[in-house]
Protein backbone atom coordinates (compact mmCIF):
# COMPACT_ATOMS: atom_id res chain seq x y z
CA UNK A 1 0.00 0.00 0.00
CA UNK A 2 1.27 3.43 -0.87
CA UNK A 3 0.10 6.99 -0.62
CA UNK A 4 -1.12 8.15 -4.02
CA UNK A 5 -1.65 11.77 -3.15
CA UNK A 6 -1.45 13.86 -0.01
CA UNK A 7 -1.96 17.54 0.61
CA UNK A 8 -1.69 19.54 3.80
CA UNK A 9 -3.04 22.86 5.12
CA UNK A 10 -6.40 22.74 3.36
CA UNK A 11 -8.85 23.78 6.05
CA UNK A 12 -8.59 27.31 7.44
CA UNK A 13 -10.43 26.72 10.69
CA UNK A 14 -8.40 23.76 11.85
CA UNK A 15 -4.87 24.15 13.17
CA UNK A 16 -3.63 21.46 10.87
CA UNK A 17 -5.18 19.32 8.15
CA UNK A 18 -4.27 16.75 5.53
CA UNK A 19 -6.11 14.92 2.79
CA UNK A 20 -4.68 11.55 1.83
CA UNK A 21 -5.56 9.07 -0.91
CA UNK A 22 -4.06 5.60 -0.61
CA UNK A 23 -3.53 3.01 -3.27
CA UNK A 24 -6.35 0.92 -1.80
CA UNK A 25 -8.77 3.64 -2.90
CA UNK A 26 -9.38 5.24 0.48
CA UNK A 27 -9.56 9.02 0.55
CA UNK A 28 -10.00 10.90 3.80
CA UNK A 29 -9.36 14.20 5.49
CA UNK A 30 -7.77 14.54 8.89
CA UNK A 31 -7.81 17.75 10.87
CA UNK A 32 -6.20 18.68 14.15
CA UNK A 33 -7.37 21.31 16.60
CA UNK A 34 -5.54 22.10 19.75
CA UNK A 35 -4.31 22.56 22.28
CA UNK A 36 -7.70 23.97 23.19
CA UNK A 37 -10.17 24.12 26.01
CA UNK A 38 -11.09 20.71 27.39
CA UNK A 39 -14.43 19.53 28.75
CA UNK A 40 -14.15 19.54 32.55
CA UNK A 41 -14.69 15.83 33.02
CA UNK A 42 -11.95 15.00 30.52
CA UNK A 43 -9.43 17.43 31.94
CA UNK A 44 -6.16 15.87 33.02
CA UNK A 45 -3.85 17.88 35.28
CA UNK A 46 -0.53 16.94 33.69
CA UNK A 47 -1.29 16.10 30.10
CA UNK A 48 -3.57 16.83 27.22
CA UNK A 49 -6.66 14.78 26.57
CA UNK A 50 -6.49 13.21 23.13
CA UNK A 51 -9.80 12.97 21.35
CA UNK A 52 -10.16 11.21 18.01
CA UNK A 53 -13.39 11.43 16.07
CA UNK A 54 -14.08 9.44 12.92
CA UNK A 55 -17.01 10.24 10.66
CA UNK A 56 -18.08 7.96 7.79
CA UNK A 57 -19.17 9.47 4.50
CA UNK A 58 -22.51 7.68 4.57
CA UNK A 59 -24.57 7.33 7.70
CA UNK A 60 -23.62 8.09 11.25
CA UNK A 61 -20.62 6.83 13.18
CA UNK A 62 -21.09 3.32 14.46
CA UNK A 63 -19.06 0.46 15.88
CA UNK A 64 -16.62 0.42 12.97
CA UNK A 65 -15.79 4.08 13.58
CA UNK A 66 -15.54 3.61 17.35
CA UNK A 67 -13.04 0.80 16.84
CA UNK A 68 -11.03 2.98 14.51
CA UNK A 69 -11.11 5.83 17.00
CA UNK A 70 -9.78 3.67 19.79
CA UNK A 71 -7.08 2.21 17.54
CA UNK A 72 -5.99 5.70 16.53
CA UNK A 73 -5.92 6.86 20.13
CA UNK A 74 -3.66 4.00 21.11
CA UNK A 75 -1.38 4.67 18.11
CA UNK A 76 -1.16 8.41 18.63
CA UNK A 77 -0.94 8.60 22.43
CA UNK A 78 2.75 7.62 22.59
CA UNK A 79 3.61 9.82 19.60
CA UNK A 80 2.18 13.16 20.74
CA UNK A 81 3.93 14.99 23.57
CA UNK A 82 0.70 15.24 25.52
CA UNK A 83 2.57 16.34 28.64
CA UNK A 84 3.48 19.58 26.87
CA UNK A 85 -0.15 20.69 26.95
CA UNK A 86 -1.56 20.04 30.41
CA UNK A 87 -5.28 20.66 31.02
CA UNK A 88 -6.09 20.99 27.33
CA UNK A 89 -7.58 18.91 24.59
CA UNK A 90 -6.04 17.87 21.32
CA UNK A 91 -8.66 16.82 18.86
CA UNK A 92 -8.07 14.75 15.74
CA UNK A 93 -10.99 14.58 13.33
CA UNK A 94 -11.16 12.10 10.49
CA UNK A 95 -13.71 12.52 7.74
CA UNK A 96 -13.91 9.70 5.26
CA UNK A 97 -14.57 10.75 1.69
CA UNK A 98 -14.88 7.35 0.08
CA UNK A 99 -17.38 4.78 1.02
CA UNK A 100 -15.88 1.34 0.86
CA UNK A 101 -18.46 -1.00 2.19
CA UNK A 102 -16.90 -4.18 3.50
CA UNK A 103 -17.07 -6.68 0.70
CA UNK A 104 -18.23 -10.12 1.66
CA UNK A 105 -15.16 -12.25 1.73
CA UNK A 106 -14.85 -15.91 1.21
CA UNK A 107 -12.57 -17.86 3.49
CA UNK A 108 -10.04 -18.13 0.75
CA UNK A 109 -9.39 -14.42 0.29
CA UNK A 110 -7.71 -12.13 2.77
CA UNK A 111 -9.83 -9.63 4.78
CA UNK A 112 -10.36 -6.28 3.07
CA UNK A 113 -7.92 -3.51 3.86
CA UNK A 114 -8.96 -1.23 6.66
CA UNK A 115 -8.75 2.50 6.58
CA UNK A 116 -6.65 2.56 9.72
CA UNK A 117 -3.36 3.00 7.90
CA UNK A 118 -4.64 5.85 5.72
CA UNK A 119 -6.28 7.49 8.74
CA UNK A 120 -3.07 7.25 10.73
CA UNK A 121 -0.87 8.63 7.97
CA UNK A 122 -3.29 11.52 7.47
CA UNK A 123 -3.41 12.17 11.22
CA UNK A 124 0.37 12.31 11.42
CA UNK A 125 0.50 14.76 8.53
CA UNK A 126 -2.21 16.90 10.10
CA UNK A 127 -0.41 16.88 13.45
CA UNK A 128 2.82 17.94 11.77
CA UNK A 129 0.87 20.61 9.89
CA UNK A 130 -0.50 21.88 13.20
CA UNK A 131 3.03 21.97 14.68
CA UNK A 132 1.89 19.82 17.55
CA UNK A 133 4.91 18.64 19.53
CA UNK A 134 5.60 15.03 18.57
CA UNK A 135 8.09 12.53 19.92
CA UNK A 136 8.69 11.03 16.55
CA UNK A 137 7.16 10.45 13.17
CA UNK A 138 5.48 7.18 12.32
CA UNK A 139 4.18 5.63 9.13
CA UNK A 140 1.50 2.99 8.64
CA UNK A 141 1.35 0.36 5.90
CA UNK A 142 -1.14 -2.35 5.04
CA UNK A 143 0.50 -5.61 4.07
CA UNK A 144 -1.37 -8.59 2.73
CA UNK A 145 0.29 -11.96 2.68
CA UNK A 146 -1.82 -14.88 1.52
CA UNK A 147 -4.93 -14.89 3.71
CA UNK A 148 -3.65 -12.46 6.31
CA UNK A 149 -3.87 -8.68 6.39
CA UNK A 150 -1.58 -6.67 8.65
CA UNK A 151 -1.53 -2.97 9.46
CA UNK A 152 1.99 -2.17 10.59
CA UNK A 153 2.93 1.14 12.16
CA UNK A 154 6.61 1.88 12.62
CA UNK A 155 8.85 4.73 13.72
CA UNK A 156 10.25 6.20 10.50
CA UNK A 157 13.72 6.65 11.99
CA UNK A 158 14.35 3.56 14.05
CA UNK A 159 11.91 1.21 12.43
CA UNK A 160 10.60 0.31 15.86
CA UNK A 161 7.19 -1.26 15.83
CA UNK A 162 4.55 1.06 17.27
CA UNK A 163 1.35 -0.75 16.49
CA UNK A 164 0.21 -3.81 14.59
CA UNK A 165 -3.28 -4.97 13.75
CA UNK A 166 -3.62 -8.30 12.01
CA UNK A 167 -6.63 -10.10 10.66
CA UNK A 168 -7.32 -13.29 8.75
CA UNK A 169 -5.34 -16.48 8.66
CA UNK A 170 -1.59 -16.28 8.87
CA UNK A 171 1.36 -18.12 10.22
CA UNK A 172 3.95 -16.80 12.60
CA UNK A 173 6.44 -16.60 9.76
CA UNK A 174 4.01 -14.61 7.66
CA UNK A 175 3.53 -12.15 10.49
CA UNK A 176 7.30 -11.82 10.85
CA UNK A 177 7.54 -11.18 7.13
CA UNK A 178 4.76 -8.58 7.31
CA UNK A 179 6.52 -6.78 10.11
CA UNK A 180 9.78 -6.80 8.19
CA UNK A 181 8.12 -5.44 5.08
CA UNK A 182 6.22 -2.86 7.10
CA UNK A 183 9.48 -1.68 8.61
CA UNK A 184 11.06 -1.36 5.19
CA UNK A 185 8.06 0.53 3.82
CA UNK A 186 7.80 2.82 6.78
CA UNK A 187 11.38 3.85 7.39
CA UNK A 188 13.01 6.88 5.85
CA UNK A 189 16.50 6.45 4.52
CA UNK A 190 19.20 7.89 6.65
CA UNK A 191 22.93 7.80 6.41
CA UNK A 192 25.02 5.89 8.85
CA UNK A 193 25.50 8.80 11.17
CA UNK A 194 21.83 8.81 11.87
CA UNK A 195 21.76 12.57 11.65
CA UNK A 196 21.28 13.67 8.14
CA UNK A 197 18.69 12.54 5.73
CA UNK A 198 19.67 12.14 2.14
CA UNK A 199 17.25 12.99 -0.59
CA UNK A 200 16.26 9.97 -2.57
CA UNK A 201 13.46 9.53 -5.07
CA UNK A 202 10.79 6.95 -4.55
CA UNK A 203 10.48 4.84 -1.48
CA UNK A 204 7.75 3.64 0.82
CA UNK A 205 5.15 5.33 2.96
CA UNK A 206 7.74 6.83 5.31
CA UNK A 207 9.54 8.47 2.40
CA UNK A 208 6.21 9.68 1.05
CA UNK A 209 5.34 11.32 4.37
CA UNK A 210 8.72 12.97 4.42
CA UNK A 211 8.23 14.27 0.91
CA UNK A 212 4.86 15.78 1.81
CA UNK A 213 6.27 17.42 4.93
CA UNK A 214 9.20 18.78 2.96
CA UNK A 215 6.81 20.35 0.49
CA UNK A 216 4.83 21.88 3.31
CA UNK A 217 7.90 23.29 5.03
CA UNK A 218 9.26 24.74 1.83
CA UNK A 219 5.89 26.32 1.10
CA UNK A 220 5.63 27.75 4.61
CA UNK A 221 9.13 29.08 4.71
CA UNK A 222 9.34 30.42 1.20
CA UNK A 223 9.00 33.96 2.54
CA UNK A 224 12.49 33.60 3.94
CA UNK A 225 14.01 33.13 0.52
CA UNK A 226 13.44 36.66 -0.56
CA UNK A 227 15.75 38.10 2.04
Amino acid sequence: MTIISATTTLLSRADGSAQVTSSDGTTLIASVSGPMEVRPREEQPLRAYLEVLVRPVVGVAGTRERLLESQLVSCLTPIIRLESYPRTCIQVNIQLLTHSRPIKTSRSSPPPPTILSTALNASILALIDASTALRTTVAATDITINKGRHTVVVDVFSGQLVFVDSEGEFTHEELEEALERGKKEGMVRVDDGGDVMVVDEGGGVGEEIRRVVEEKVQRDLRWKDGK
Binding site: D15, G16, A130, S131, V156, V196, M197, V213, E214, Q218
Partner: protein, 291 residues
Protein backbone atom coordinates in the same frame (compact mmCIF):
# COMPACT_ATOMS: atom_id res chain seq x y z
CA UNK B 1 6.46 23.30 25.40
CA UNK B 2 6.44 26.70 26.96
CA UNK B 3 8.24 25.61 30.03
CA UNK B 4 11.06 24.27 27.97
CA UNK B 5 11.91 27.71 26.75
CA UNK B 6 11.87 29.37 30.07
CA UNK B 7 13.80 26.81 32.00
CA UNK B 8 17.50 26.63 31.58
CA UNK B 9 19.82 23.71 31.79
CA UNK B 10 23.52 23.64 32.28
CA UNK B 11 25.49 20.76 30.97
CA UNK B 12 28.85 20.48 32.65
CA UNK B 13 30.14 16.95 32.18
CA UNK B 14 28.44 15.37 29.22
CA UNK B 15 26.84 12.69 31.29
CA UNK B 16 24.95 14.70 33.86
CA UNK B 17 22.55 17.56 33.49
CA UNK B 18 21.08 19.44 36.34
CA UNK B 19 18.60 22.16 36.27
CA UNK B 20 19.53 25.50 37.61
CA UNK B 21 17.37 28.49 37.65
CA UNK B 22 18.85 31.32 35.72
CA UNK B 23 15.97 33.69 35.76
CA UNK B 24 17.76 36.65 34.23
CA UNK B 25 18.88 34.77 31.19
CA UNK B 26 15.64 32.93 30.71
CA UNK B 27 13.70 36.07 31.25
CA UNK B 28 15.24 37.89 28.37
CA UNK B 29 15.57 35.13 25.87
CA UNK B 30 12.86 32.64 25.22
CA UNK B 31 15.39 29.93 24.64
CA UNK B 32 16.47 26.87 26.43
CA UNK B 33 19.99 27.32 27.54
CA UNK B 34 22.37 24.46 27.21
CA UNK B 35 26.05 24.61 27.87
CA UNK B 36 28.14 21.84 26.51
CA UNK B 37 31.80 21.53 27.26
CA UNK B 38 32.39 18.13 25.77
CA UNK B 39 35.24 18.48 23.28
CA UNK B 40 34.49 15.14 21.69
CA UNK B 41 31.45 16.57 20.01
CA UNK B 42 33.44 18.99 17.94
CA UNK B 43 33.96 16.28 15.38
CA UNK B 44 30.40 16.75 14.36
CA UNK B 45 31.01 20.27 13.18
CA UNK B 46 30.92 19.27 9.53
CA UNK B 47 27.52 17.72 9.77
CA UNK B 48 25.98 20.65 11.53
CA UNK B 49 27.29 22.97 8.89
CA UNK B 50 25.77 20.73 6.32
CA UNK B 51 22.50 20.99 8.10
CA UNK B 52 22.63 24.74 8.12
CA UNK B 53 23.91 25.23 4.62
CA UNK B 54 20.76 24.36 2.68
CA UNK B 55 19.06 27.43 4.03
CA UNK B 56 20.84 29.16 1.23
CA UNK B 57 20.25 26.31 -1.18
CA UNK B 58 16.55 25.73 -0.97
CA UNK B 59 16.62 22.91 -3.49
CA UNK B 60 18.53 20.69 -1.14
CA UNK B 61 16.36 19.10 1.46
CA UNK B 62 17.24 19.40 5.12
CA UNK B 63 13.73 19.30 6.43
CA UNK B 64 13.58 17.74 9.83
CA UNK B 65 10.62 15.60 10.78
CA UNK B 66 9.42 15.36 14.37
CA UNK B 67 11.75 12.92 16.05
CA UNK B 68 14.69 13.67 13.77
CA UNK B 69 17.85 13.55 15.83
CA UNK B 70 19.89 16.75 15.79
CA UNK B 71 23.57 16.73 16.63
CA UNK B 72 24.94 19.08 19.17
CA UNK B 73 27.02 21.65 17.38
CA UNK B 74 30.44 22.51 18.70
CA UNK B 75 30.32 25.12 21.34
CA UNK B 76 32.90 27.15 22.98
CA UNK B 77 32.44 26.47 26.58
CA UNK B 78 31.88 30.06 27.59
CA UNK B 79 28.73 30.77 25.63
CA UNK B 80 25.83 28.47 26.45
CA UNK B 81 23.95 26.89 23.57
CA UNK B 82 20.36 27.92 23.46
CA UNK B 83 17.62 25.75 22.08
CA UNK B 84 14.56 27.48 20.73
CA UNK B 85 11.15 26.41 19.47
CA UNK B 86 10.89 22.99 17.91
CA UNK B 87 13.79 21.36 19.71
CA UNK B 88 13.78 19.17 22.77
CA UNK B 89 16.73 18.19 24.82
CA UNK B 90 16.84 14.70 26.27
CA UNK B 91 19.60 14.12 28.81
CA UNK B 92 22.41 13.52 28.51
CA UNK B 93 23.07 14.99 25.09
CA UNK B 94 20.36 14.09 22.64
CA UNK B 95 18.51 16.82 20.86
CA UNK B 96 15.46 15.97 18.80
CA UNK B 97 13.10 17.98 16.70
CA UNK B 98 9.50 17.96 17.80
CA UNK B 99 7.99 19.77 14.90
CA UNK B 100 8.82 19.85 11.23
CA UNK B 101 11.04 22.47 9.69
CA UNK B 102 14.57 23.42 8.85
CA UNK B 103 17.15 23.87 11.54
CA UNK B 104 18.20 27.46 11.93
CA UNK B 105 21.04 28.81 13.96
CA UNK B 106 22.36 32.07 15.20
CA UNK B 107 26.08 31.68 15.59
CA UNK B 108 26.51 34.91 17.50
CA UNK B 109 23.99 33.99 20.18
CA UNK B 110 24.86 30.34 19.80
CA UNK B 111 21.23 29.40 19.41
CA UNK B 112 19.41 26.70 17.47
CA UNK B 113 15.74 26.51 16.62
CA UNK B 114 13.26 25.31 14.01
CA UNK B 115 11.14 28.13 12.64
CA UNK B 116 7.67 27.30 11.43
CA UNK B 117 4.40 28.85 10.46
CA UNK B 118 1.44 27.91 12.65
CA UNK B 119 -2.16 28.84 13.18
CA UNK B 120 -2.10 28.41 16.92
CA UNK B 121 -0.08 30.63 19.14
CA UNK B 122 1.80 29.31 22.17
CA UNK B 123 2.34 32.02 24.78
CA UNK B 124 5.96 32.87 25.49
CA UNK B 125 7.25 35.22 28.09
CA UNK B 126 8.08 38.71 26.79
CA UNK B 127 6.10 38.25 23.59
CA UNK B 128 4.02 41.22 22.60
CA UNK B 129 0.51 40.16 21.72
CA UNK B 130 -2.65 41.79 20.45
CA UNK B 131 -5.55 40.67 22.56
CA UNK B 132 -9.22 41.41 23.21
CA UNK B 133 -10.81 42.35 26.52
CA UNK B 134 -13.53 39.89 27.48
CA UNK B 135 -14.62 41.28 30.84
CA UNK B 136 -13.36 42.82 34.04
CA UNK B 137 -13.21 40.63 37.07
CA UNK B 138 -12.09 41.73 40.50
CA UNK B 139 -8.64 43.13 40.08
CA UNK B 140 -7.88 42.17 36.52
CA UNK B 141 -9.26 42.13 33.03
CA UNK B 142 -9.88 38.75 31.52
CA UNK B 143 -8.56 38.86 27.97
CA UNK B 144 -8.55 36.51 25.03
CA UNK B 145 -5.35 36.04 23.09
CA UNK B 146 -6.80 34.98 19.75
CA UNK B 147 -4.54 32.96 17.50
CA UNK B 148 -4.35 32.76 13.78
CA UNK B 149 -6.89 33.74 11.24
CA UNK B 150 -9.76 35.82 12.44
CA UNK B 151 -12.20 35.01 13.95
CA UNK B 152 -10.85 31.85 15.44
CA UNK B 153 -12.21 30.35 18.62
CA UNK B 154 -10.58 31.63 21.72
CA UNK B 155 -8.36 29.17 23.41
CA UNK B 156 -6.02 31.22 25.50
CA UNK B 157 -7.50 33.38 28.19
CA UNK B 158 -5.09 35.53 30.12
CA UNK B 159 -5.31 38.02 32.93
CA UNK B 160 -4.29 41.64 32.65
CA UNK B 161 -4.19 43.20 36.15
CA UNK B 162 -5.86 46.58 36.44
CA UNK B 163 -2.63 47.90 37.88
CA UNK B 164 -0.42 46.68 35.03
CA UNK B 165 -0.70 50.02 33.22
CA UNK B 166 1.68 52.96 33.44
CA UNK B 167 0.98 55.01 36.53
CA UNK B 168 -2.15 53.04 37.35
CA UNK B 169 -3.50 53.17 40.87
CA UNK B 170 -6.75 51.75 42.20
CA UNK B 171 -8.45 55.01 41.33
CA UNK B 172 -6.78 55.92 38.07
CA UNK B 173 -6.80 52.62 36.29
CA UNK B 174 -7.75 52.72 32.60
CA UNK B 175 -11.34 51.79 31.86
CA UNK B 176 -11.45 49.22 29.09
CA UNK B 177 -14.74 47.87 27.88
CA UNK B 178 -15.42 44.40 26.54
CA UNK B 179 -14.25 44.11 22.96
CA UNK B 180 -11.41 46.63 23.30
CA UNK B 181 -8.14 45.70 21.63
CA UNK B 182 -5.00 45.83 23.76
CA UNK B 183 -1.33 45.56 22.89
CA UNK B 184 0.30 43.83 25.83
CA UNK B 185 3.43 42.02 26.87
CA UNK B 186 3.28 38.53 28.34
CA UNK B 187 4.79 38.88 31.77
CA UNK B 188 4.30 35.30 32.80
CA UNK B 189 3.81 32.21 30.70
CA UNK B 190 3.80 28.65 31.83
CA UNK B 191 2.11 25.64 30.36
CA UNK B 192 0.34 25.00 33.63
CA UNK B 193 -1.24 28.42 34.09
CA UNK B 194 -3.12 30.97 32.08
CA UNK B 195 -0.64 33.63 31.02
CA UNK B 196 -0.43 37.01 32.67
CA UNK B 197 -0.10 40.23 30.73
CA UNK B 198 1.06 43.77 31.36
CA UNK B 199 0.88 47.06 29.50
CA UNK B 200 3.81 48.71 31.19
CA UNK B 201 7.54 48.40 30.79
CA UNK B 202 8.79 47.28 34.17
CA UNK B 203 12.17 48.95 33.75
CA UNK B 204 10.95 52.40 32.76
CA UNK B 205 7.42 52.39 34.16
CA UNK B 206 6.24 53.77 30.85
CA UNK B 207 3.90 52.32 28.29
CA UNK B 208 6.54 51.78 25.62
CA UNK B 209 3.91 51.47 22.90
CA UNK B 210 1.74 49.07 24.90
CA UNK B 211 -1.86 49.76 25.87
CA UNK B 212 -5.22 50.06 24.21
CA UNK B 213 -5.27 50.24 20.42
CA UNK B 214 -8.11 52.46 19.36
CA UNK B 215 -9.67 52.44 15.91
CA UNK B 216 -7.96 50.79 13.00
CA UNK B 217 -8.40 47.18 12.07
CA UNK B 218 -6.96 43.89 13.24
CA UNK B 219 -5.95 41.29 10.70
CA UNK B 220 -5.19 37.67 11.51
CA UNK B 221 -2.13 35.96 10.07
CA UNK B 222 -0.23 32.79 10.81
CA UNK B 223 2.30 32.97 13.63
CA UNK B 224 6.00 32.67 13.09
CA UNK B 225 6.77 35.07 10.29
CA UNK B 226 8.93 38.17 10.51
CA UNK B 227 6.64 40.92 9.25
CA UNK B 228 9.18 43.75 9.44
CA UNK B 229 10.43 43.72 5.82
CA UNK B 230 6.94 43.34 4.39
CA UNK B 231 5.54 46.18 6.46
CA UNK B 232 8.47 48.39 5.46
CA UNK B 233 7.59 47.69 1.81
CA UNK B 234 4.02 48.80 2.48
CA UNK B 235 5.27 51.80 4.40
CA UNK B 236 7.08 53.06 1.32
CA UNK B 237 3.80 53.98 -0.34
CA UNK B 238 1.19 54.11 2.44
CA UNK B 239 1.03 56.07 5.64
CA UNK B 240 -0.10 53.96 8.57
CA UNK B 241 0.56 52.93 12.12
CA UNK B 242 1.04 49.29 12.89
CA UNK B 243 1.48 46.93 15.85
CA UNK B 244 2.48 43.32 15.31
CA UNK B 245 1.36 40.75 17.86
CA UNK B 246 3.29 37.49 18.13
CA UNK B 247 -0.06 35.74 18.33
CA UNK B 248 -0.63 36.28 14.62
CA UNK B 249 -2.57 39.50 14.82
CA UNK B 250 -1.56 42.74 13.22
CA UNK B 251 -3.24 46.01 14.08
CA UNK B 252 -3.23 48.62 11.35
CA UNK B 253 -4.48 52.16 11.31
CA UNK B 254 -3.98 54.10 8.13
CA UNK B 255 -4.28 57.81 7.68
CA UNK B 256 -7.80 57.11 6.42
CA UNK B 257 -10.11 54.12 6.06
CA UNK B 258 -8.98 53.53 2.48
CA UNK B 259 -5.37 53.23 3.50
CA UNK B 260 -6.23 50.86 6.35
CA UNK B 261 -8.23 48.71 3.95
CA UNK B 262 -5.40 48.66 1.44
CA UNK B 263 -2.80 47.65 4.02
CA UNK B 264 -5.08 45.03 5.59
CA UNK B 265 -5.78 43.43 2.23
CA UNK B 266 -2.09 43.34 1.32
CA UNK B 267 -1.19 41.72 4.64
CA UNK B 268 -3.96 39.15 4.27
CA UNK B 269 -2.86 38.28 0.73
CA UNK B 270 0.73 38.06 1.79
CA UNK B 271 -0.16 35.64 4.59
CA UNK B 272 -2.46 33.59 2.41
CA UNK B 273 0.16 33.04 -0.27
CA UNK B 274 3.26 33.25 1.94
CA UNK B 275 4.72 35.88 -0.34
CA UNK B 276 8.34 36.83 -0.24
CA UNK B 277 9.29 40.45 0.21
CA UNK B 278 10.06 40.61 -3.50
CA UNK B 279 6.58 39.37 -4.41
CA UNK B 280 5.09 41.84 -1.98
CA UNK B 281 7.02 44.64 -3.59
CA UNK B 282 5.52 43.74 -6.96
CA UNK B 283 2.03 43.64 -5.50
CA UNK B 284 2.53 47.00 -3.82
CA UNK B 285 3.63 48.45 -7.15
CA UNK B 286 0.62 46.96 -8.89
CA UNK B 287 -1.97 48.12 -6.40
CA UNK B 288 -0.66 51.41 -5.12
CA UNK B 289 -3.06 53.13 -7.47
CA UNK B 290 -5.89 52.07 -5.14
CA UNK B 291 -4.59 54.33 -2.41
Amino acid sequence: MTADYTTSFRLSPPTSIHTTSEPTLAHHLPFLTLRNSAPSLSTRLQKILYLLKPLHHPTMSTVLLPGSPVSLPPTNTSVPLRLGPGLTHTPPSTITAHHAGTLTSDTRKNALWIPNLTRRYTPLQNDRVICTILRSSGEAYIVAIPSSNAPAPTTITATLPHLAFPGATKKTRPQLSAGATVYARISLANKHYDPELECVDEATGKAGGLGELKGGMVVGVRCGRDWGPVLRELGKVAEFEVAVGKNGRIWVEGKDRRTTMWVVRRIAECDENTWTVEEMRKKVEATKGDL
